[in-house]
Symmetry: C2
Subunit: 299 residues, 2 copies
Amino acid sequence: MAEMRPQAVPDLLRTWGERVEAALDRLLAAPDEASRPLFEAMRYMVLGGGKRLRPALVILAAEACGGPAEAAMPAACAVEMVHTYSLIHDDLPAMDDDDLRRGRPSCHKRFGEAMAILAGDALLTEAFGVLAREVADPATSRQMAAELASAAGAVGMVGGQVADLEAERTRSRDPRLLDLIHRRKTAALIAASAVLGALAADASEHLVRSLREYGGHLGLAFQIADDILDASATTADLGKTAGKDAAAGKLTYVTLYGLESARRRALAEADRAVDALAPFGHSADPLRDLARFVVERTR
Amino acid sequence: MAEMRPQAVPDLLRTWGERVEAALDRLLAAPDEASRPLFEAMRYMVLGGGKRLRPALVILAAEACGGPAEAAMPAACAVEMVHTYSLIHDDLPAMDDDDLRRGRPSCHKRFGEAMAILAGDALLTEAFGVLAREVADPATSRQMAAELASAAGAVGMVGGQVADLEAERTRSRDPRLLDLIHRRKTAALIAASAVLGALAADASEHLVRSLREYGGHLGLAFQIADDILDASATTADLGKTAGKDAAAGKLTYVTLYGLESARRRALAEADRAVDALAPFGHSADPLRDLARFVVERTR
């Protein structure tokens, strides 16, 4: 594994996070008075901080393939909008019922349940609108939409959330189910982020495949690290409620395998992510750093 | 206005409804065991009847422009998926809180709130997936996605629902607000259906514009007729709870202008819809019939 430059990744995330935030701010300007309340709820969550891991990944993947960051910006914004909608809906009382997100009241606590449902719906819809309107090449635009729909939909993120709720209901301890949940609920959208970056750079199928594999392992490493943080960090550090998984008897890598084994698995997935980058030279160094970063982060 | 052939439209809706239903049945086959519960909830609502007005409109608009129905089928399915997701979310306790839809328990009554939220999310996502995967020409696919996102999103259907809830909360009697609500909440997606049909047929910009105008007026006529039916029909006839608007003191054409005036407005909108079809010959006769049908329907 390439040597770690500890400050590189937080700097990259901050830099790209700010550029993505500026682009999202433009894309989500309320066009008229009547739509202002809805856009206020959408903007509250989208512009309310967050690690910006997924949009940064879109851009770093594009740059790894030799493409300009600018071409990846619409896809970066679309992915962040989809991620944010999923947080809003996951926090709802009927779902994970969480009052806190990114260190602030969750969307339904701030604006009410109806508005939170609708703000999520609107963000999901506008994500596809951004890809359709803002991506220059029609074939690329369409390919990105297919990729995003597949990663976010019934056999992707939404499917993973259903499986997660089902596992909670049945108090399942099935390791294959845990694997499926994490692949669909988290890894699918992270893998799609890497793929969208490659598509924005008009990369060869070979490189797209490598980045899909990288993103899949990165996503699993990220989710295992999330499980570890839930079990070991504080609510103040996370900006969301900590310790919920154990309290809910939830199926996670930590509750199933224990902290130490979960740590080893996270590191192994990060290594596999780096291995998948073998076809790339130094242009993929930030992606290599990112793989190490996601398992070492503290929030 | 062309002379009415009363049986023509119900026959058309039934015929196209069945073909669209068969296509939706194929598109929404659960690909694996883990996703079966989610697909069951999606299929329950999508394949659970309904007038199929929007998908039929997509196909009839394509045929009016000389295109084959087959080319319009992906867009017809996508529009029906978006319409169904909106019904599922509108029925939720936090929104209109309705137990009955299409003559059966609404989605959350049957599967629980969490599953209903997720089934709606998945249908919205898959709608864009269908356009991205199933529309042959990339430029057309992308144009359709932009049109659908704009009609369904924050300044379309979702925005209309927000404005509707806001009007209910403030007990507004503002006729301009009523107009905006109906345009966004209902007419936008109906107008988009007509436009998607024209795009599927690769129609000229001139014809696309005419069909957008037709669809806008048709949508308003449809919504006013809906308000009239809510006030005058029975729950058994409608397959959803009747008389809710008046009970909730809701802002509708009937509560604002009275039944007779609402009827005149609906007929006037239907006439305007037909007028917008002036550039078309007999190929648009089914669309002319449809305009009369939506204001004369009994459910």
